[in-house]
Amino acid sequence: MATMMFWEAIRRALDEEMARDPMVICMGEDIGVAGGTYKATQGLYDKYGPERVMDTPISENGFTGLAIGASFVGVRPVVEIMSVNFAWLATDQIVNTAAKVHYMSGGQIKAPIVIRTPGGTAHQLGAQHSARMEKVFMGVAGLRVVTPSTPRQAYGLIKSAVRCEDPVLINEHELIYNLKGEVPDEEYFHPLEGSEIARQGKDVSLFGYNVSVHWCLQAAKKLADQHGIDAEVIDLYGLNPLDRAGIAESVSKTHRAVVVEEAEAPVGVGAEVMAILNEECFFEMDAPPARVSALNVPIPYNHTLEKAAIPNADDIVKAVLKLFGK
């Protein structure tokens, strides 16, 4: 097992897939000569050339559509959209074409495209650079959505996504590109569906994805150290489809649930997980499920206000204590 940073894990996956299959290409703004905003494609331009590591114009809907068209005829494009905020411009091609073309052609066309894009709030990037779009994409039938929380997941999810025949959107996060973690030395393919137990526990299930998994782990430690509560942390790396069975299984054991999302509550991951809990384990619950979400506001620039808008480990601890009547 080698320890590497998140961005290095992505680069390794892309490099391996490009070396294996000449039809794998990378596209995006500043990914070639400049090596990518988060270095995820560093060195690939020199190795594979401008035809396969394409610096695109700032035309998100255009180049995403181009990649989708190329995927119809055997190309395996990995598109980097510099920030998820700019993916709004490409939602037309992602939602209207990639997610639907296999279905509406009666199975004749496949769009095996991978879209990598970092979302989330970072450090005072302001309202137009702090979007969390996972809730938008996870509601789109025909589009797979995954969101890695560790370098190992990032590596393995990209490897599987490149080979998968469906369009896959990989929701990354600006804050964890430098996160270090272990990645297997041998090739590793992470499942695109499912969830992982990030920490075993028996008293309450904390559901997180991407950065919020890390907040959940911090909260679990506090709960154990200071309150004697043994929290289980479930990493929902697969957002579409969600791991219905895995969610139910954990809560059937703990009988309590808190969903933690970086996005605003309405129509989000929390709402969806709570609906699943309702449907699958209503009578197993010892307390109503809770969610910890961002405030429903555009993200403010001011540092203090920004922090107040986004949940943290303490908010999770509070929500858990409430479930226990503390």
Partner: protein
């Protein structure tokens, strides 16, 4: 260029094109009736008046070898690309024998075996898809090209400019064909578009272009042949503007009230089928009687073969409802084939 300059097509080919265009006309008119009879649902965009565009261009292409992609006004492009008209009609009737098993509908005709890459409902959507298909062709090193048919109003979408830029930047083998019928639904082109001559709009991207009469199939053929030579020859994209007119409303829900009757009358005098018919008659290659007989045969064929097939075909079964949302049994979803 006028029709007199370019008479490149043999008599046999002209006769066949006349037959095909007449068939396309009758096919679309029959769709109209079927829609009124509620056999066809949803949005239905018909092609009468514009037949010379698809036929002239695709006659110059290598059908089944070159890729074709277009908008929602797609039946005739599909048929000329080699998709079985029965499968098209069955698709319109939402039957399982339709080319998309009844899951697509009028705006989404697909025939991937024939390299007809589909009809798409979002105006401007196919521009980048076509460039992407061309990118795939380029990577594989084949001599195919991608032909993208879209309307005039589509050129006001950002994807038009984004795609032209990328197609030229990367020297992609794509031919953009603009079927300029002067309207985007009810809005006349000069009311939506600052530069009315569409072929001029691509000069900013250094893409060669031409505007020709889209009602004369021979003119279209000649212009398309030159354009296709350019693209196939590795010279990058080309933009061909065809001046044309649709006879009916934009779709079945459009009353067409916004157009002057004079304008409609003027264009009906330049009907692509009648012009070719009369030319063949003048040249002594056709008689009015044989034309009439052909027409009767076409009508009969549409009724007895195509409509009957669509009528008698079964509906899709419930197992299809969820079958194509995602690709089934993909081993990589589970984390690899091991």
């Amino acid at each position: 260029m006028t029709s007199e300059d370019k008479r490149l097509l043999s008599v046999d080919v002209k006769k066949r094109l006349l037959h095909e265009m007449l068939f396309a006309r009758r096919f679309e008119e029959r769709c109209y009736e079927a829609y009124v009879e509620r056999k066809i649902g949803g949005f239905l965009h018909l092609y009468p008046g514009e037949e010379a565009c698809a036929h002239g261009v695709l006659e110059a292409a290598r059908v089944g070898h070159d890729y074709v992609i277009t908008s929602y006004r797609d039946h005739v492009h599909a048929i000329k690309s080699g998709v079985d008209p029965k499968a098209v009609m069955a698709e319109l009737f939402a039957k399982v024998t339709g080319c998309c098993k009844g899951l697509g509908g009028s705006m989404h005709i697909f025939g991937v075996e024939q390299r007809f890459m589909g009809g798409y409902a979002l105006v401007g959507g196919p521009f980048p898809l076509a460039a992407g298909i061309a990118k795939g062709i380029q990577m594989k090193g084949g001599d195919e090209i991608c032909i993208c048919f879209l309307g005039d109003a589509a050129n006001n979408q950002g994807t038009f400019h984004e795609s032209l830029n990328m197609a030229k930047l990367w020297n992609l083998p794509v031919l953009y064909v603009c079927e300029n019928n002067l309207y985007g639904i009810g809005t006349r082109i000069d009311r939506s578009t600052a530069v009315v001559d569409q072929y001029k709009r691509v000069s900013g991207y250094n893409i060669p272009s031409q505007q020709v009469d889209g009602q004369d199939v021979e003119v279209v053929y000649a212009a398309a042949a030159a354009a296709i030579d350019h693209v196939r020859g590795g010279n990058g994209p080309y933009f061909l503007e065809l001046m044309t007119y649709r006879y009916r409303g934009h779709s079945m829900s459009d009353s067409n009230a916004y157009r002057a009757k004079d304008e409609e009358r003027m264009w009906s005098k330049r009907d692509p089928i009648i012009m070719l018919r009369d030319r063949l008659i003048d040249d002594g290659q056709l008689t009015q009687e044989t034309f009439k007989k052909t027409d009767d045969q076409i009508l009969e064929h549409i009724e007895d073969e195509i409509i009957r097939f669509a009528e008698e075909s079964p509906e899709p079964t419930m197992d299809l409802l969820q079958k194509y949302v995602l690709v089934e049994n993909d081993p990589w979803v589970k984390g690899g084939a091991h």
